[in-house]
Structures are given as C-alpha cells and as structure tokens.
C-alpha cells in the first residue's frame, strides 16, 4: 500500500505529455526583463542604473529585507531601463530590462574546488542567500529563510518534494532523471545546512523511472530514502507531503518546522547545488511548456527574464485555438494575458489550454452534495466558507471555520458538480480574514 495523505484529495487526469522530453536549452533571447519581486516578501532594491554594463550572474538588485531575495542578471549586456513593466496579469511591476550582448559570466561564478563535506553550515546558507534562491515549486518563499529555523525549533527531517502532483508539469521529473547526482549532492548540502541526518524524497508513483533512478543513486548514501507516493492531488502540498512521508500533522497555523520537517522542492535543491558547488546564482530554471494543441511541447532550460512568448515559440508557437495561457499547472497556476511577460524564478510551467477547455461550465445552485467537504485535504467545509464570504462576509465566523488553513489547492472546485466558484470566494474571504487578523495583532 503506497503512502499518501489521509483525508480528501482528487485525481485529475495527469496529462504528462512532456514526461519523455529531455530538457532542451533555450537560446538566450535578445532582451530580458527581470522583475524585482520574484519572491514572497519585500521586493529587491535595484542597484544598477540605465546604461550600466552587467555580466551574467551579477547581482542587480539586493534583498529588500530578511524575507526577500537577491536578484541577479541572467545575461550579460546593457541595462536598458529600470522601470515598471507589465507582468503576466497586465499590471505594472518594477523590473530591470537588459539588452543582451555576449555571453560573459561574472568573475565570481567559478566552480568550487571544495568537497561537499568541507562546507560549514553558515557557509551553505550564505551561498544560498547570496544566490537569491527561492522556493521553485511556485510558492517562491526565500530559501535561506526557510533553512534558518526560528530559535527553539529543531529540524529532524529534510523532505524533498519530487511529487509534482500538478497535472501536465514535468520539470521536476526531468530534473530527477537528468541531474540525479547533482540533486543528491544538493540534498546533502541542505541536510548539512539544517543539521539533519535524515532526508526523504517523496515521488508520486506515476514516475517509476524517477523513483528507480533516485533509489539507485541513494543506495550508497546513508540517511536519504526515496518514498514512492500514491498518485493523488495535492500530494505535493507541504502539509500533505509531511503527513504522507513521516506521518506527522502540522498543526493549524503552524509551519512545518513545528513537527521537525523542512520541505524543499527538487528544482530548489538543484539550484542549491549550483549555488554552492558552482557558485552560480539562480538565473535559469527548467520550465515545462505544454498543452494539448502545442506542436512541440517540452521542458526548456531558460534564463530568468526570457519572455514567455519565446518559450511558446520554441514549443511550436501559440496554437490557433488557444483559450487560456496559464503560468504554472492547471490546479494552482495563474492565467496570463501578457505573454511577453518574463519567466520568473517561480515559473514552473506554461500551460496552454485550447478554447474548448478554457471556459468554466455553467453554474448551478449548490445542491449540498458535500463532495467538496469530502475532497478538501484540509478537512474544511468549502461550501460554507464560500457562502459566508459571498453572503455575509462575517470574518470572525470565517476565522472560526478555519479559513486560514485553506491551501487553495482547488480540489473543492474541481469536484463541484454545480460548478460553483468556491475557491474564488474562499480566496477572497481568506485574504480579508488574514488582513483582519494582522490588524488585530498590530493593535495589540
């Protein structure tokens, strides 16, 4: 019996068309747009000006606070502008635009001669922080913050998220297959950084090749285990993954460290390896470009700041019947209207849905079938949260009904036979409730 989280969940069609496509390197574009806020927390502060010459891997914006991350130039060239640029949603966001000239790397980007065992804990975290690494599964939480547990808490397990439970996406799958040894090295580095001697790699059972490869690579290493997991969405949710792998439940409102776990995504681990061993900051990532109507869907290694339209071109161009372009997977990704917006650190995929699959179905009244309650992996009552938000907006009640526990996985809406926009309202109510809670704690 495969391990899994215990309550709720759904099983959407996996549609992993690109699982067999090796990672291709996308040519550097003529121009890159590097947003200053590619992470959760304070935006970075630009330290270059219009006209400056920059090299690939050079810091162009420094972290704007503790919960923030450095931003590096992904290319060498001239800064065209430091000004707001429209993001994927069409809203202006501060960014640095760079004209690409040559392929010169910054001097500090050199392979280290040290062995993994020779690194000190602080040294690793410093390298990660300098490299501007953020959670690459999509949440984009600065990694160095996650690896510096608050005083009084002790990590016991490092859990590696190789689940990739989002349908369509295969970027992490390909990384596990093609960069196996680098990932193992990265895991060892992170284990050292947080001082644990146990690591578990959670992989969903629909990637038997990745499971086999990782298992083969870990037979000789002590303390790293591969844990095949049942194919069930959201197996890769942080709390769900901890429950599935080590059987512990993160309490409501707490962080994984409360049960001694630190979770890192495969992409992040690979970035850590590059940052520590090659001294290469986070300037490129693997992006899955996929969709039913695309000619050449695939996994592309591209520079941060590459316009998404270039990626789509490489995958065969925007199909005629495109109805929706999504940054990320179909369950949690965000739709975009500006396909000239750049690839960011957290862009795990670009999914192009045909028109026939884009529109939501016709909405009906809630028939109280309770399928959303059964599907909710957090044990909430989505119908109730959505109704309260829509009808009364009673934030105190929402807080009592644990709306802040919602992980916005979308299982409720996926399963709703009446096509209710449950998550739309829950997200709204969650935002408002969160604001109320912050206000209250500020007053105190």
């Amino acid at each position: 019996m495969l391990k899994s989280f215990k309550i709720g969940g759904v099983h959407p069609p996996e549609n992993k068309y690109t699982a067999g496509c090796a990672i291709q390197v996308l040519p550097t574009p003529d121009k890159v747009i590097i947003p200053l806020s590619q992470h959760i927390g304070a935006p970075a502060t630009a330290i270059v000006q219009k006209g400056d010459k920059v090299k690939a891997g050079q810091v162009i914006a420094t972290a704007g606070g503790f919960v923030s991350a450095n931003v590096h130039s992904s290319v060498s060239g001239t800064v065209l502008d430091v000004a707001p640029v429209k993001d994927a949603a069409g809203l202006l966001k501060p960014a640095i635009t760079i004209q690409v000239e040559g392929e010169e790397w910054a001097d500090e980007v050199v392979k280290t001669t040290k062995n993994i065992d020779e690194f000190e804990k602080e040294e690793i975290i410093k390298a990660i922080s300098d490299a501007g690494i953020v959670g690459m599964g999509g949440a984009t939480f600065p990694t160095h913050v996650k690896l510096s547990p608050p005083p009084g808490s002790k990590a016991e397990y490092l859990i590696i998220n190789g689940v990739e439970c989002e349908p369509y996406l295969t970027a992490d799958h390909r990384l596990m297959l093609e960069k196996t040894n680098e990932i193992i090295a990265g895991i060892k580095l992170v284990m050292k950084a947080i001082g644990v001697n146990k690591a578990i790699i959670g992989i969903e059972n629909n990637k038997p090749d990745a499971i086999a490869k990782m298992q083969a690579a870990t037979t000789t290493t002590m303390g790293i285990d591969v844990c095949p997991l049942k194919v069930r969405y959201p197996q890769g949710g942080e709390k769900q993954l901890i429950k599935a792998t080590i059987g512990r439940s993160v309490p409501s409102g707490a962080l994984p460290i409360a049960v001694g776990a630190v979770v890192q995504n495969i992409g992040t681990i690979y970035a850590v390896y590059e940052a520590v061993m090659l001294r290469k900051p986070l300037v490129e990532r693997v992006v899955t470009v996929t969709g039913e109507s695309l000619k050449n869907p695939g996994n592309f290694l591209c520079k941060v700041g590459t316009p998404i339209s270039k990626l789509i071109e490489a995958a065969g161009g925007l199909p005629e019947d495109t109805g929706k372009v999504i940054g990320g997977g179909p369950m949690m990704g965000r739709t975009m209207i500006n396909i000239d917006s750049p690839v960011m650190k957290g862009t795990s995929g670009v999914l192009i849905l045909p028109e026939s699959k884009s529109a939501r179905g016709e909405m009906h009244p809630c028939i109280k079938c309770a399928k959303c309650v059964s599907a909710c992996p957090m044990g909430l009552e989505p119908y109730l949260l959505a109704t309260i938000t829509e009808m009364t907006g009673d934030l105190e009640r929402l807080e009592k009904e644990k709306i802040m526990d919602c992980i916005e996985c979308g299982c409720c809406m996926y399963t709703c036979p009446a096509n209710r926009p449950l998550l739309d309202y829950i997200r709204l109510g969650k935002g408002r409730t969160g604001a109320m809670i912050r206000n209250r704690s500020q007053k105190k």
Binding site: G90, L91, R360, Y425
Partner: protein, 294 residues
C-alpha cells in the same frame, strides 16, 4: 377541585418566583447609561449603515455625547438637518459640512474601452481585482461587476447595462461611503454635491502615460495638463499622468472641460461651454454663489 387548586396555586407560585428573579437580575445587571445617548439615537435615521465611521447609529450617538464638539462627527444619511437637531439636543455648536455625493470616476464604457480578455471567474470586482486589472487594457478603471451596487444599502447605485458602468442616483445617495470602501479599484469618490447638484470632475483615474491610456480607452485622462493651464482658480493638479479637480477650489467655470481633448472631464447638471473658443466672458450659469464651504 383539588387538582384545579393545586394547578392554580403552583402556576401562581412559579409566576411570582420568576418575577422576583427577573427583578433581582434586572437590578443587579443594570447598566448606567447617559440618557442623552438614547435621545441622540432617536434623532438619527437608524439605518446603521456605518457611513459615519462609527459602528452603527448608537456608536455615533455615544461618540457625540462623549466628545466635546461635534467636529468630525457627521451623519451622512441625515445630513445637516439631523446634525442641527443633535447639536440642539446636546447644546453644542453645529459644524457645517457640505453635502456630498458618490461619483464614479471612470468613463470606460463598452464603446470607449474595448474588451481585450474574458474574465471567467465569479462575478465580483474584488475577485477580479485580485487576479488582474480587468477585462480591458486599462488596469485602473471600473471592473463592472457591481460590488458597489451590492454594497449600497439605499439602492442608489445601479449598473447601466449599455455602458457597463455604475450610475449613482443623486437623490438616493446619502454619501455613506459604502461603495467607496467596496470598490477595489478606488474608482468611486465622495465629492461635494455642489450648488443645485451642479458639479464637475475628472472621470478617470488611469495613471498610465497618455499614449497607453488613450489606447486603452478613448475617454481616458492623458495627463496633458491643458485643463491645469486653463483653470484660473488653481483647482486642478496633474499627478501620475492623471488630473484631479479639487472640489473646494473649483468654481464650476467649465473651461477645463472645454479644452479636454478626450472629454474625460464630466459635467453634471451643467451645460458645456459653447464650442466657439472666442467666448472669454462665458460666465457660469450660476456664478459660484455658494462656493463649497470647507
């Protein structure tokens, strides 16, 4: 007979006992309250709309009784008359405030502002605003889902199906500010109602540069500053590529509207100036007899 007696006596005993308990409880838990709070409360309209910034009418009454002056305390629903009555009841000075009305600062009707994407989520401005800037290329203007309409307790706002924009009914609007709070794009503003309901305002808040704004919406304010040059009263300012008319300084001369190249300045109950430019003496129909009191 016996049963009858027992029933009557026991029921009476229960009644007396309950009365005693009620009396004792009422005595013990009695809250001493300033009787003037009730007086003020009765004068208020009782809509409990929260437009005054206090939690309901009773909240305002308590604040009014507690405070030394009525400065900053204003019931937008009752307006000046109610405030005068309250002032009289409490023996305080009346603080005059010009009556206000909600205005929708967006010209982006379906014809002015073509749609460029299809929003497919729940029909709510708050939800749409959390996803992106709206179905048109203007990411500042009205989203058109009517959150303001559902926020209005007085039925003063309705969506115009032709333009897709909300329309405020001057007669019904009490300037409680619920729509201002409900609008995630901050399109709605409370402005002075103006003499005889005559007023003008820049009906656009697009902060994009002129060209981009114009491309997204043919009636956008492009921040060209022509109106600023025309205004003799220093009432207009252009900030972030968008003009704003200070209603306390505006004398309703309408020259700004006449020079606006996009027609972004909206006149309410005012006839536009005659199009012939050589009419420098075109005085306002009602020369600012009652300049909006501050």
């Amino acid at each position: 007979m016996n049963i009858l007696l027992i029933t009557i006596i026991s029921l009476c005993a229960i009644g007396v006992l309950s009365a005693i308990i009620l009396f004792l409880v009422a005595k013990k838990f009695k809250v001493e309250e300033d009787p003037r709070i009730d007086t003020v409360c009765e004068l208020l309209p009782g809509a409990n709309c929260g437009g005054c910034g206090f939690p309901g009418c009773r909240g305002l009454a308590e604040a009014a009784v507690k405070a030394d002056t009525l400065d900053g305390i204003m019931c937008p629903v009752g307006g000046a008359t109610v405030m005068e009555q309250i002032a009289a009841a409490l023996g305080r000075e009346v603080v005059a405030q010009a009556p206000k009305v909600a205005v929708v600062r967006c010209n982006g009707s379906c014809s002015n502002r073509p749609r460029t994407s299809k929003f497919d989520g729940a029909r709510s401005c708050a939800i749409m605003a959390s996803v992106y800037g709206g179905e048109t290329d203007c990411s500042y203007g009205c989203l058109g889902c009517g959150d303001c309409v559902s926020a209005c307790q007085f039925g003063a706002i309705a969506m115009n199906p032709e333009t897709g924009l909300p329309v405020v009914d001057d007669e019904k609007c009490v300037a409680c500010g619920a729509c201002v709070k409900a609008c995630p794009k901050m399109v709605i503003e409370l402005r002075n109602k103006g003499p005889k309901n005559r007023r003008l305002y820049v009906s656009c808040i697009n902060k994009d540069k002129g060209g981009i704004a114009r491309k997204a919406c043919s009636a956008a304010c492009i921040g060209c500053s022509k109106c600023v040059k025309e205004c003799a009263f220093d009432a207009i300012k252009v900030e972030n590529n968008v003009a704003y008319i200070d209603f306390n300084k505006c004398k309703l001369c309408r020259k700004c509207a006449a020079v606006c190249p996009t027609g972004a300045i909206k006149l309410v109950n005012l006839a536009p100036l005659p199009p012939t430019p050589p009419a420098p003496k075109a005085a306002p129909a009602q020369p600012a007899e009652k300049p909006a009191a501050n």
